[in-house]
């Protein structure tokens, strides 16, 4: 495994680190790790470095890079809206890897905002053959609400907490009225995330899957608790995608959004590398039980 710093893009202002398998990777697709929110390219808890090295060890090159205005990448001055610029920069990253002779097929992946952008990139560019979306878009269901309130009712002190959180609930409702969604992060800050309407999401997923793209959808129990609380929820929300052969779905119940718990970091690395080996590189692998907690949910 070897690593090198790269600058790419039209103005050579996008900064990244390319991690390549030591023996090269002829014919293999390359992974792109897309910025996790405002974090620079090492990712929360240096998770992106670990992912890049693990996937390079499995046999694919990985480019971790900063979107413009983040990490070491300079800010844009062309006035392009953020949603368009992150897509354009993802495409620039793929062009750079293709022009450098590293890969012609790609696997965008990311956490949170990075997962959202990996999905957008998978939809926009036919060179994408697989994508891993960690805590990407999620949609509440009747089952979600039933489980949430049942858990609250059973938990000691829940009513006291319920009243204490009244202010936060009101804020979430206010945000929801404006089409945004709130995510609770204990000990940290509240982030506002905007999810597309359910129908638009479904259409995008149909289009991506229709091209034969492999998808790994990973949801954390802690990071997505305001949106997702059971391994079956994706199937509840989108019954037609429930048993889709190209979707690998995982619910890591214990993990928080930034994978603070080390054992959950390791579980994520095992999951992603097994998925890449099996679904992206087409190798037979030993089944990896991701988050044994998933079954207990």
């Amino acid at each position: 495994m070897k690593e090198r710093a790269v600058l790419f893009g039209a103005t050579k202002s996008l900064s990244g680190v390319l991690t390549e398998p030591s023996g090269g990777a002829p014919g293999a697709p390359a992974a792109l790790l897309l910025s996790a929110g405002y974090m620079h390219r090492v990712g929360p808890n240096r998770l992106y470095v670990a992912i890049a090295r693990r996937l390079a060890a499995a046999g694919i090159p990985v480019l971790r890079f900063d979107h413009s205005g983040l990490g070491e990448s300079a800010a844009r001055h062309d006035g392009m809206p953020l949603k368009e610029s992150v897509l354009a920069e993802g495409i620039e990253a793929m062009n750079f890897l293709a022009e450098s002779g590293i890969a012609n097929r790609f696997v965008p992946m990311g956490l949170c905002w990075g997962g959202e952008n990996a999905q957008r990139l998978a939809h926009a560019d036919p060179r994408v053959v697989a994508a891993a979306l960690i805590d990407g878009f999620a949609y509440r269901t009747f089952g979600y609400h039933a489980r949430k309130y049942a858990r609250h009712a059973l938990a000691a002190g829940s009513w006291r907490r319920l009243f204490a959180r009244a202010g936060a609930v009101l804020r979430r409702r206010a945000a929801a009225r404006h089409g945004a969604a709130f995510e609770r992060n204990p000990g940290g800050v509240d982030f506002v995330r905007e999810f597309p309407p359910r129908a638009a999401y479904l259409n995008e997923m149909r289009s991506i899957l229709g091209r034969g793209v492999e998808l790994s959808l990973i949801f954390t129990g802690g990071g997505m608790a305001e949106f997702y609380n059971h391994s079956r929820q994706f199937g509840e929300a989108f019954p037609e995608l429930r048993a889709h052969p190209r979707i690998r779905l995982e619910f890591m119940k214990l993990a928080d959004h930034t994978f603070t718990i080390r054992s959950q970091q390791e579980a994520l690395l095992a999951s992603l590398s097994a998925w890449v080996e099996e679904r992206v590189l087409g190798r037979a692998t030993t089944a990896v039980e991701v988050g044994a907690d998933a079954a207990a949910s």
Binding site: E3, R4, A5, L7, S15, V17, Y38, M39, H40, R41, V42, P44, N45, R46, L47, V49, G71, E72, A74, R151, A155, R184, P186, G187, G188, V189, G221, G222, A225, L254, D256, T258, F259, T260, I261, R262, S263, Q265
Partner: protein, 265 residues
């Protein structure tokens, strides 16, 4: 700006901000980042500081220790001695780029501690030292770091209606980073008040005049260093809540900038 790897044996990731004109008055500034999550949180602020100092005439080298950030190595491989070696390696790298310029070591939190320890080495030949909220007692820093991790674990477990034992499955973690026994031992032995050598000029900037670094200030003075001490009350840019403030630590940056500029005269 140039990003690259340097160091013969331990590939260290560096970012070199070159000044628009000739180097001076700030000379070359080597920036030492905090450890673990504090280092990731402070990344943006240290980059802003690097850009600003370069604009004002300094060449600035920011780098990651072995096992941290973009550098080679795994996080659990570090110890104080090896991190100090990395700082000295970065100083050599800065001198390679600007042989005749004066050298300033600038560090934040435990990065300031490592800067002070590296500057105390005979071979370092550092001209100036900037210590931004230095950690002068390694043992206290460890206690504080593990307490912060426990507080997070308890808060998270409570919110998830789980016993804390369900998530706190190891006793050597600090907020996502493994801190093995050898690393803990090396950090616990750090006492900046026992420094034996210091550069001629040192700037210490802290948020409060709580006296935690009183021993350090006295030690630096005793070693013959000209010490300037500033108390700047502003948010902790290395803490989670402050990251989204894109201009964090601006008042402290002003103090550092003015002090470095005066250094030329």
């Amino acid at each position: 700006m140039q990003t690259y790897y340097f160091g013969a044996e331990r590939a260290l990731f560096g970012v070199l901000h070159e000044p628009a004109a000739a180097v001076e008055p700030g000379g070359v500034v080597v920036v030492c980042a905090p450890l673990w999550r504090e280092g990731i949180r402070a990344h943006r602020v240290l980059r802003q500081l690097g850009l600003r100092l370069a604009k004002e005439g300094a060449a600035v080298l920011r780098f990651d220790y072995f096992g941290a950030g973009d550098s080679a190595g795994e996080g659990e491989q570090g110890e104080v001695e090896s991190w100090v070696s990395d700082v000295l390696c970065a100083v050599d790298e800065a001198r390679r780029a600007h042989a005749k310029a004066s050298v300033t070591l600038l560090g934040l939190r435990f990065g300031a501690t490592l800067a002070a320890l590296a500057a105390a080495r005979k071979e370092a030949l550092v001209d100036r030292l900037v210590l931004w909220e230095p950690v002068s007692d390694g043992g206290a820093f460890l206690d504080e770091s593990f307490a912060e991790h426990r507080a997070w674990a308890e808060s998270y477990a409570s919110w998830r209606h789980m016993p804390v034992t369900a998530i706190a499955d190891a006793d050597d973690e600090v907020l996502g980073f493994r801190v093995p026994a050898a690393m803990r031992g090396s950090i616990a032995s750090v006492r900046l008040a026992e420094l034996r050598r210091a550069p001629p000029r040192t700037l210490v900037v802290e948020r409060t005049a709580s006296g935690t670094n009183g021993g350090l200030l006295a030690a630096l003075s005793k070693l013959g260093a000209r010490v300037e001490h500033h108390v700047v009350d502003e948010p902790e840019v290395w803490k989670p809540h402050e990251l989204q403030a894109t201009a964090g630590g601006r008042k402290t940056q002003d103090v550092i900038s003015k002090w470095l500029t005066r250094g030329a005269s």
